[in-house]
C-alpha cells in the first residue's frame, strides 16, 4: 500500500515533551473564534440568575475599592474627603482584579476540564487560559467605564502618561497569562495550588503598591525598598498609578523605567509559562 504525500498530522514521542511549535501555534490560532465565544460564555455565565446581572462587573471592584477607601481613611485618620485617594485605590484595584482574574480563571479553566475539552479534544490547551485572559480583559475594560466618572470627580485630568495605558493593559495581560500557565500546570500535579491561590494573591496585593503609594518605600533602602522593588508588580502598579494619575511627586521612579522592568517580567514569565505548559499539557487528560 503506498501513501504518496507526507502526512497531514504526525504524532510522535519527543524527548522534551514539546510539540512541534509551528503546528501547535497554527492549531491554537485555528481555535481563536472558539476562545472568543468561550470567553463570552464565561462572562455571561458569571452572573447567571442574579438580579443585577452585568452590573456586577462594575459593582464588584467598586465596592471592593470603597471598602478599602473607608478602612484606609479610618486607619490613617485622613478622613473621606480625598476623592483623589478613592480614585487611586479604585483604579488600581480594577487593575489588580484584571490581573488576578486572569490567574484564577486561567487555573480554573484547566482544572475544571473545560466541558470535557481536556479529556476528549485535541484543542491546544493553551486556548483555555488565553480565553480566560480575554474574559478578564473584557471585564476590566467594562470596569473602566465605572472608573471614568471617579477620575473626573477627583480632577485627575488628562496627561501624556495615559498614552501608555494600552501597552500596560497588554503587558499586564501577558504577565497574568504567563503566571496562569505556570500555576495551571502546578495545579494539575498539586491540587493544593488552587486552594492557596486566593490567599497568595491577596498577600501579593498587600505587598504591591495598589492600595498604598509607591513613594512610601522610596529611600528606605535595604531591606524594605530593595525587596519591594524585586516584586514584579511594584514596577507594574507604579506604572499603572502614574498612567492613571500622573507622577505623585518629583523624583518618583521613571515611567519608562517601570514599564521596561514590568515588560521584561511579563515577556519572561509568558515564555517560561508557555513552554512549561505545552510540554505538560498532554498529561491534563489523564490527571483532570
Amino acid at each position: 500500500m503506498t501513501t504518496p504525500d507526507s502526512p497531514t498530522i504526525s504524532r510522535r514521542a519527543t524527548r522534551t515533551g514539546l510539540p512541534q511549535l509551528g503546528h501547535y501555534l497554527a492549531e491554537a490560532y485555528r481555535y481563536r473564534t472558539f476562545a472568543l465565544f468561550w470567553s463570552k460564555a464565561d462572562i455571561k455565565a458569571r452572573n447567571f440568575e442574579t438580579v443585577l446581572g452585568r452590573l456586577w462587573h462594575f459593582l464588584n471592584p467598586f465596592l471592593f475599592g470603597l471598602i478599602y477607601f473607608v478602612f484606609v481613611g479610618i486607619l490613617s485618620g485622613g478622613g473621606f474627603s480625598n476623592t483623589n485617594r478613592l480614585a487611586f485605590i479604585v483604579g488600581n484595584l480594577y487593575v489588580w482584579t484584571f490581573f488576578s482574574t486572569i490567574i484564577n480563571t486561567g487555573v480554573g479553566s484547566v482544572q475544571g476540564g473545560a466541558g470535557g475539552i481536556t479529556a476528549q479534544s485535541a484543542i491546544p490547551r493553551v486556548v483555555l487560559p488565553f480565553a480566560s485572559t480575554l474574559t478578564a480583559g473584557n471585564l476590566f475594560l467594562r470596569s473602566l467605564i465605572a472608573y471614568v466618572p471617579l477620575h473626573v470627580v477627583a480632577s485627575r485630568g488628562l496627561h501624556w502618561e495615559m498614552l501608555w495605558l494600552p501597552f500596560l493593559f497588554l503587558m499586564t495581560g501577558l504577565f497574568g497569562l504567563g503566571l496562569a500557565l505556570l500555576l495551571a500546570v502546578a495545579n494539575v500535579y498539586f491540587r493544593d495550588v488552587s486552594r492557596l491561590l486566593p490567599h497568595f494573591l491577596r498577600l501579593w496585593l498587600y505587598l504591591s503598591p495598589a492600595i498604598w503609594a509607591y513613594t512610601r518605600v522610596i529611600g528606605d533602602g535595604w531591606p524594605v525598598e530593595t525587596l519591594a522593588r524585586l516584586n514584579p508588580m511594584y514596577s507594574g502598579m507604579t506604572a499603572w498609578t502614574i498612567a492613571f494619575g500622573g507622577p505623585l511627586a518629583p523624583g518618583d521612579p521613571s515611567m519608562v523605567g517601570s514599564i521596561l522592568v514590568f515588560s521584561a517580567w511579563a515577556v519572561g514569565t509568558l515564555l517560561v509559562g508557555f513552554f512549561t505548559f505545552i510540554s505538560r499539557e498532554d498529561e491534563f487528560a489523564v490527571r483532570n
Binding site: M1, T2, T3, P4, D5, P7, T8, I9, S10, R11, R12, A13, G17, P19, R30, Y31, T33, F34, F37, W38, A41, D42, K44, A45, F48, A114, G115, G116, I117, A119, Q120, S121, A122, I123, D282, E283, A285, V286, R287
Partner: protein
Amino acid sequence: MSLQSGTDAIRISDLSVSYSAVVEETRETRGRRLGRRTRKRDIQALKEVSFNVPAGEAMGLIGGNGAGKSTLLKTIAGVLKPSDGQVDLWGRPHLLAPGMGFNSKLSGRENVVLGGLAAGMPIDEVREKQDSIIEFADIGGFIDLPTTTYSSGMFSRLAFAVATHVNPEILLIDEALSAGDAAFRDKAVSKVKEMCHQAQTIVVVSHSSALVSEMATHAVWLHRGRVKMVGEVRAVADSYIEFQAKERETAQYDRSIADRR
C-alpha cells in the same frame, strides 16, 4: 486533503502509550500518615501497536475492559501523546464527543455554537448548520432555555446533534451511540451511519463485536495493550467471541475449584 483509494489514512507504527495516574491510597496503605493521600501509578496502556487503516475504510477496535481501545482512539485524536512510536494521519481526525465544550448555564442555542466551535467547525459552518442541528435535536422550545433546565435525555439529544453535524475526514467513534430515549437512539444510530458514509475513514470502538461488525469492514483486536489480531471484521470478531467464551469457561472452572476447597 482528499484521499484516493489505495492510500493509508492512518498509519500506526510501534505505538506505545504510558501515563501516570493519581490513585487514592486506601486506609491500609496510608497508615497513620497525615497530608497527601494519593500516590502515582504508572499505566502502560498500549505496547508496540502497529497497523494501517486505508483511506475510505471503516476499522473497528474490539477488546475487553482495559485493552487500550479508548487510549488508542484518544492518541489518534491527539488527546494523548505517544510515549514511543508514532501516529501518521492523512486527514483531520474528529472524535465524536457529545457535549464537549458545553456550558450548562447557557441556552441550548448558544451551546450549539459553542459545541460546534469546540468540535472544530468554523463559525460560518456552525451558523449554516444551526437550524439543522436544532431540528435534529428536536427539543422544542427548550432550545432557548439554559441547559441546566434540561432532562438528561434532552441534553444528550442536543449534545449528540452538535457532535454529529461535523464532516470529518477521519471519524473516531468511542461507544458514543447511546443518546436519549429509545426512539432517538434509532435516529442517532442512523445519523452515525450517515456520517460513516460521508467520512472518508472511520475508526469505531465498542465492547460489542456485533456493533463493530455492523459498522466496520476490518477490525483490530486489542488485548492488554497489544494487538492480538488484525483482519476482516468477521474473522476478528469470531476469534474474539471464541476467546471470550474460553476466558469465561476458565473463570467458571477456577471458581468451581475454589468453591470445592
